[in-house]
Symmetry: C2
DNA sequence: TATTGACCTAGAGCACGCTCTAGGATGTTC
DNA sequence: GAACATCCTAGAGCGTGCTCTAGGTCAATA
């Protein structure tokens, strides 16, 4: 499926606001956006794919600076493949670290809820309080 | 192990700055902090445990508003156990959603890296570009 | 041709979570 | 008793990532 559209439709496709799309472009996150005869931005399939990928990175904690770097590199073609791989591998490591944090927090919550349940059951606060809230 | 200390040591124990600790207290994240004869804050074991738990929540995306709510509830004793459980279960669901996002992103990165590798191997960009960067 | 809606630029404003400054009090050490 | 670290309050400032306003242009529709 091929795309060629103005900013409103594009914003819908990548699930960001029109304001945000223009701001992303100003931040260097969207390469080579064309204009129509009336000066309006025209987006193509590649822009959608690029932004959907960045969106996934953003939602997992990649900063605008890193997304800009990735975008800069990608407009420079094959010479930057290694640099892009390196950036992505760093982000992947950050993702793994986040997953570890999240799993630990989920475990802490389970322990806390069990603590609350015991408290409620016995109608008195249990002694060995591991982590309080 | 039992703790009774001033703000500097406390900040070390929970790995936040002294500034941040005072700010957290102003935000209602630290309940019932005592003072010594000179007016300096005195922290106990329970404060350390409370903050270490909040720190885990914070690192997994819990907002200051939610941490404040949890703190408010916890100073009110057993009557708020259900409310606390509910809040924690909501956060646990948010954590599961984050983990799903992170796993999807890791998968996307792997696909992108594979794409780059094929590009480098063939010295030309592969056709079926699923997600571009 | 008048209206309407989508678009344009430039720049201000905002929510969040800290982070730091200024000016001063306290308390331990030499 | 003087120096120095650590603490205090009140409040300003900052980095990030948007979000919105003002004032105007463009093009399709009635």
């Amino acid at each position: 499926m091929s795309v060629r559209c103005h900013i409103g439709r594009f914003a819908q496709l990548v699930d960001r606001s029109v304001h945000t799309i223009r701001w992303y472009e100003a931040q260097g996150l969207i390469p080579a956006v064309g204009r129509d005869a009336g000066g309006r931005r025209v987006y193509e399939t590649e822009h959608v794919e690029h932004l959907l990928f960045l969106e996934r990175m953003r939602r997992t904690g990649m900063s605008v600076a890193e997304m800009r770097r990735l975008t800069e590199l990608s407009v420079q073609g094959w010479r930057t493949l290694e640099a892009r791989k390196s950036l992505l591998k760093d982000h992947r490591a950050a993702i793994e670290a986040q997953i570890a944090d999240l799993k630990a927090a989920a475990h802490d919550i389970d322990a806390k809820v069990a603590f609350y349940d015991e408290w409620a059951r016995n109608k008195r606060r249990p002694r060995p309080e591991r982590g309080s809230a």
